[in-house]
Structure formats: structure tokens, C-alpha cells
């Protein structure tokens, strides 16, 4: 029936999703109690979406690593993946250092702002949650330990996706190196699973506008607007830097795929909207895969390696966020950094972002201690302030993560072979 078709297509329209984000923001700010009532609907939707994300990551990684190695192009890709991921994250960190050093968001706080922020800190520390955060401080060894778990199924059920990624890459590599019919058949089966999960996701996407509306409303209902005003300088600088990053991503995509900036944006718009609305880059994996494979017509085998892998370790938005937040804390406490400390910031920011990728909610923000603790800067206040304004930063971090990852995929992979 054409009428049902039109309705279904309208439900999947990114414009409707965008409208529901705007409407959800309005409800969250203007009617917080209503927003909290509908919040659970959004949580259920996000859970439904995430239920199929893990299988997609597993099947995509095993299949793509296996196929890449089977076709003997592994080494070439590996070098490019490492190079592009590393350079991308360093560039994002440098962007944070640039905007942070130019605008000094942490030094710009007036006495009134400090009063408001101090009040938020007092309120937060009274509840005692601040003390729990500080325990989430793994060092480099702890980081390796989370990547290599004793029990991969326990890791999977605990949401330790970094460990799962490691497991899938090794498994995919083993299958790829076997070079026989059994391995080929197995990879085909894995590919069929991947296709099935992507189909399920495309069904779930029909409810995306409803889910985004509830999620965004509930998220904004928790935020104190006075704290937002006091952190205004930081938030503005953060948005400015993120916008600059997105423009750079668009330019790179446009140059690499030989199209205009506008078509480059249109290709990734669905992925970015899902990322913004759910504040989850994992939830945007299917949309990002579609953007790179279908809209931008890159080689699907290699992009389905780069995207799921990148969503775990190529977190350019998060690196940008952590570096800028660390710089904010440095300025807040009136510290001046030595050149060596400046050089250390991007590397520490990269580790913080990757460590945070598996941590739930506020513990993720706590990873900023990986950067701040070696500098001798107190982390408590920074974590509290960041978590209070998290609802308006988190969507942008996710957008930058997803867009940075799509752009990395475009840079790493070649164009689709004709008819492929």
C-alpha cells in the first residue's frame, strides 16, 4: 500500500528525528516532571537498540577481519587504520588545546559563577556520590587488563566491549588465515548474521522519533540551568571547537569522495542524529555503517572493520572533550603547564577517552583523572561540574565521535568496486 509506505518512509525521515529532538528538548526544559514520566520509554527504546548492537559489532568485526586477511590486504589496512586513528585523535586533541588556549574558558569565571558552581559542588558532595567516582582510576596496566579479560562471555555481559573487540579481531584473524572452505563458510554464516541484525535495526528505526523524544526530554530535565549559565564560557568554547571539528570532517569527506560539503553532510545525517539523540555512539553504529557503505559508497568489507573497531578506540570527540575539560581544570586552578605537560595532554587524553568508552555514565567522566592526576590537579570538582552539564555536552561528544569515525573510515577505505 503506497500510503503505508509513505508513512513508514516518513517515520524514518531524519527531519522527523530532528524535530523530535527539538520537541524533546522543549519538554525536558519546560516540563521536567512530564519528561521524567516518559523517560523510561526512552530507556526501553535505547535498550532495544543496544540489544542488537553487540551482535552487530561481533559479526561485523569477525567477518571483516576474516575477509580482509583472506584477500591478503590485511597489512596495508592495518597500517592505515593505526595511522589514521592516531592522527585523528591527536588532531582532535590539538583542536581542544587550540580553542582552550585561545579562549581560556576556565579563567573566565566571575565571582557569581564561582558561587553557583560551588553550590553545585557542595550539593553533589553531600550525597556522597562524588566519593564513589574517584575509585574509577585504572592505570595503564588496569587498562590492559580490561582489554584482555579472563572470561570473554563475562566481559560481553558486563558491557566490556573493548575486550570483545579484541576477542573478535583475533577470532576473525584466525578464520581469515585458515584460507579453506570451512573458514569461508563460517565467514559467510557470520555475514548472514550481520545482515539479519542490520535488518532488525532497520525495523527498530521506525520508532526512532518516539525514542529520541523521550530520551532527550528525560536527559535535559535533570540539568540545572544556573550551572549551565555559569559554565557558559566552557560550553561555548566546547561547541565552537566541536563545530570546527565537524567542518573539517565534512571537508575531508567531500575531498575524498569527490562531492560537495552538503552531500557529505546529507550522507551522515542519520548517523549523527541517532548519535545526538541517544548520546551513544554504539547506537549509531548501524546508521554509520549505512552512511559509509551505502550513502558514500565505500568498500563495505573494510568499512565494516573500521567502524565497529573505531567506535571503541577511535574516539576523536571524546579525546577533544577530555583534553578541553582537562585544560579547563588547569585554568580553573590557575596552573600553568610546562611544554612537556602540554605534549602529554593529547596522549593522556587518548587513554582517558578509550578507558571511558566502556565505563558507564558518570564513571566515564571520572576517567579525566588519568589526565589530571599526573598533573597534581584535583579531579573532584571537575568531575562534578562536567557531570552536571553532561546532558548538553554528551550528544555533541557522540556526534563528534561518530562523525570522526565515519571520516576515518572514508579516509582508510577505498571506493566500492563497480557492481560490488
Amino acid at each position: 500500500m503506497p500510503r503505508t509506505d509513505r508513512l513508514l518512509r516518513a517515520l524514518k525521515s531524519p527531519w522527523l528525528a530532528l524535530a523530535s529532538i527539538v520537541l524533546g528538548s522543549y519538554v525536558g526544559i519546560a516540563h521536567p516532571s512530564l519528561a521524567k514520566t516518559i523517560g523510561p520509554i526512552g530507556d526501553v527504546y535505547l535498550a532495544l537498540l543496544e540489544m542488537f548492537i553487540l551482535p552487530i559489532v561481533v559479526t561485523a568485526l569477525i567477518h571483516s577481519v576474516g575477509r580482509t586477511l583472506m584477500e591478503g590486504i590485511g597489512g596495508r589496512y592495518l597500517r592505515r587504520v593505526v595511522l589514521i586513528f592516531f592522527v585523528g585523535m591527536m588532531a582532535a586533541s590539538l583542536m581542544a588545546l587550540a580553542v582552550g588556549s585561545i579562549f581560556h574558558p576556565g579563567a573566565a569565571l566571575g565571582k557569581g559563577d564561582r558561587k553557583v558552581l560551588g553550590q553545585a559542588v557542595i550539593q553533589y558532595e553531600q550525597t556522597g556520590t562524588a566519593n564513589d567516582i574517584r575509585q574509577a582510576e585504572p592505570g595503564i596496566v588496569g587498562f590492559l587488563h580490561t582489554m584482555i579479560p579472563g572470561n570473554v562471555f563475562a566481559a560481553a555481559s558486563n558491557g566490556n566491549s573493548l575486550a570483545l573487540v579484541f576477542f573478535c579481531i583475533v577470532t576473525g584473524a584466525a578464520l581469515g588465515l585458515m584460507q579453506n572452505d570451512k573458514a569461508k563458510a563460517t565467514l559467510r554464516i557470520v555475514e548472514a548474521g550481520y545482515d539479519a541484525f542490520m535488518t532488525i535495526i532497520s525495523w527498530i528505526m521506525y520508532a526512532l522519533p518516539l525514542g529520541l523524544f523521550c530520551l532527550v526530554a528525560a536527559k535535559l530535565a535533570d540539568m540545572g540551568s544556573d550551572v549551565l549559565m555559569a559554565m557558559g564560557a566552557f560550553v561555548s568554547v566546547f561547541y565552537l571547537g566541536a563545530l570546527a571539528l565537524i567542518l573539517i570532517y565534512l571537508m575531508l569527506t567531500a575531498w575524498r569522495t569527490k562531492r560537495g560539503m552538503w552531500p557529505a553532510l546529507r550522507a551522515v545525517k542519520e548517523a549523527l542524529i541517532v548519535a545526538a539523540g541517544t548520546s551513544s555512539r554504539f547506537a549509531a553504529i548501524p546508521a554509520a555503517l549505512r552512511a559509509v557503505n551505502v550513502e558514500l559508497r565505500r568498500d563495505p568489507v573494510s568499512s565494516s572493520l573500521v567502524i565497529p573497531l573505531g567506535m571503541n578506540i577511535n574516539l576523536q570527540g571524546s579525546v577533544f572533550y577530555f583534553t578541553l575539560a582537562a585544560l579547563f581544570a588547569v585554568q580553573l586552578y590557575g596552573r600553568t603547564l610546562t611544554p612537556a605537560e602540554y605534549l602529554m595532554l593529547p596522549i593522556a587524553g587518548m587513554f582517558a577517552a578509550i578507558a571511558a568508552s566502556d565505563a558507564p555514565g558518570i564513571a566515564a567522566i571520572g576517567m579525566i583523572s588519568i589526565i589530571l592526576a599526573p598533573l597534581g590537579i584535583p579531579v573532584g570538582v571537575t568531575i562534578i561540574l562536567l557531570s552536571v552539564i553532561d546532558p548538553i555536552l554528551d550528544p555533541v561528544v557522540s556526534i563528534a565521535d561518530v562523525h570522526g569515525n565515519c571520516t576515518s573510515a572514508v579516509l582508510i577505505t577505498g571506493p566500492q568496486e563497480p557492481g560490488g
Binding site: 558552581l117 560551588g118 557542595i122 558532595e125 573532584g380 570538582v381
Partner: protein, 292 residues
């Protein structure tokens, strides 16, 4: 004496002959009573003395210490003032405040020398002070607490808890001179240096400037300082210590009846709910000591 003599008319009684044995009997009886229970007869017994004088002399420190006592436009008010007035009312006497003492140690001098009957002045109980004055049971148990400079704390080497990180030779902890916290700080942080300040605001200034690591006092003052200047919370962290600060009344060792009576008084108002009313009115949540 034959019993029929009692029925003789009064006018015919030999008065002089009777008076002498009567007087003798009286004196003898008194002497025997005094012999059995000598204390009852002491004219200097403390509670009757206060009640006879009609005034309870209550000692406070010179400087106001909110919310326990402060000078308002219409007289003194606060937790301890309400308590002192209630004590006096129940004893049936007037209350007279003595505000000579410069600090809390000065209060102990005043009580020990008998210049006031009782100190009700947010006074902490400590072993050292109990050598010189008698204490009642605590009527309030605050938590010992610190305001810690976050930057200075982050510079210290890692420890199991922030409290154990502060117990290091390089650490300087400030507190008020002449308060029980001089002893409390030395007992809790034996390795650290303890700096003494006459005024809290001076200590706060040094703490903000990072000249000391922490400023120690009861949880109430630490918390009130932050609430009055919330902008300080970005720099300073409120940290409860793990030890109690029992607040009690102090009385001269000779006034044993008064101590006994005050203990029963504290027990009574605890049972009546008056203490809880005062706590709700002046103290608020989150500053009392809770054993782990």
C-alpha cells in the same frame, strides 16, 4: 514524773523547771542527727546555694559562636542560650551570662576558679580538660571535620583515604588556639604540623592561599563556612573526620550536686524531645557524629 501531773492547770506548772530539760533534749537531738549525716547539714551544699542566690552563672566565650550563642539586636540567642535558660527555669533561678573567657581553654579556667557555675558554650569534652573540671554527659556529639585545600591534597602522595594522606610530616593543619581541636588535631594527625590561629578567618585566608593544607574544627563550623561562601567549594573540600567531638557542660569539681542534676536534666530533655527540637532548629543534618 507521775502521769496525773499532766492534768494540772497550766498556770500552776513550774516553767523554769521544765525549760532546762527541754532545751537539753533539743541540743542532744540535733547533735545526734548531725553525727549520723553530716553532709545534710553543711551550709555550703552547692545546689541549695545556687537556689538561695537565685542566679545561675553561665560562662560563654567572648566571641560569638554561631549557632550556639550570638549577640542579636534583642539579646543573646542560640542553641546553648536556649539550653541555659531552660536549665535556669527548671532550677527556679535567673540566668546570668559571664563572657570574660577569650577562648574555650579560658572557660575552663573560669570554671576551675569558681567564677561561674557552669560553662554551656559549645564546649568539647577532652581528657586533658577533665583533669581540671567536671563534665556532664554530652548533650550533642558533632563530627570532627576539616576543610581541605583540594590543590594541596592532590599534591600529596596517594594514601588509602584523604584522611590518611593528611597524616604526613610535610602537612600543615590549622585550627583555633585555645580550643580542644589543638589536642584533637595532634591526636588524629600525629605526623602533621598543627598551626594555631586566633581567628577562623585568618586560618581560612592561609588555607585559600595554600599556606596550610587543611583547617580543622567541628563539622558544623566547616560546613557553615562553605555554605556562607559557596565559591570556596571549588578550592576547598569539606571532609568529615572519623572521630567524635562530644559537646558537654563543664562544672567546678566541688559542684557535684549540680553535675548530677545536669546529667539527669540532659537525660530528661532527651526523653522529652527538647534536645531534638533544638538540634532541628540550630544544627541541621549531616554534621553529627555517626559511628561506623
Amino acid at each position: 514524773m507521775p502521769s496525773d501531773r499532766w492534768w494540772t492547770p497550766a498556770s500552776r506548772l513550774p516553767w523554769r523547771a521544765l525549760l532546762t530539760p527541754l532545751l537539753l533534749a533539743c541540743l542532744l537531738g540535733m547533735a545526734r542527727a548531725a553525727d549520723r549525716n553530716p553532709v545534710y547539714e553543711q551550709p555550703n551544699s552547692d545546689l541549695p546555694r545556687i537556689q538561695t542566690a537565685g542566679v545561675l552563672r553561665v560562662a560563654l566565650t567572648q566571641a560569638d559562636y554561631r549557632p550556639f550563642y550570638e549577640q542579636g539586636p534583642d539579646g543573646l540567642h542560640g542553641f546553648d542560650i536556649d539550653l541555659a535558660r531552660d536549665v535556669a527555669r527548671r532550677l527556679g533561678v535567673k540566668v546570668q551570662f559571664n563572657r570574660v573567657a577569650k577562648n574555650w581553654d579560658g572557660l575552663i579556667d573560669i570554671i576551675a576558679s569558681g567564677r561561674a557555675d557552669v560553662a554551656i558554650s559549645a564546649l568539647s569534652r577532652s581528657l586533658k580538660r577533665a583533669e581540671r573540671v567536671a563534665y556532664t554527659e554530652p548533650y550533642l556529639t558533632l563530627s570532627q571535620a576539616l576543610l581541605v585545600n583540594r590543590l594541596k591534597l592532590a599534591e600529596l602522595k596517594d594514601g588509602a583515604t584523604p584522611l590518611s594522606r593528611l597524616d604526613e610530616p610535610s602537612v600543615r593543619i590549622g585550627t583555633l588556639r585555645g580550643s580542644s581541636y589543638v589536642g584533637f588535631a595532634r591526636a588524629r594527625f600525629p605526623k602533621a604540623d598543627v598551626e594555631l590561629y586566633d581567628r577562623w578567618s585568618d586560618g581560612l585566608e592561609d588555607l585559600e592561599a595554600g599556606r596550610i593544607h587543611a583547617l580543622m574544627f567541628d563539622a558544623l563550623l566547616c560546613k557553615r563556612t562553605l555554605l556562607a561562601h559557596p565559591e570556596l567549594a571549588l578550592q576547598l573540600q569539606f571532609l568529615k573526620s572519623d572521630r567524635p567531638d562530644p559537646v558537654a557542660m563543664a562544672v567546678n569539681w566541688h559542684n557535684r550536686e549540680l553535675v548530677h542534676w545536669l546529667n539527669i536534666y540532659i537525660d530528661t530533655i532527651r526523653g522529652e524531645g527538647y534536645l531534638r527540637t533544638l538540634e532541628a532548629k540550630y544544627i541541621g543534618p549531616g554534621v553529627q557524629y555517626a559511628p561506623h
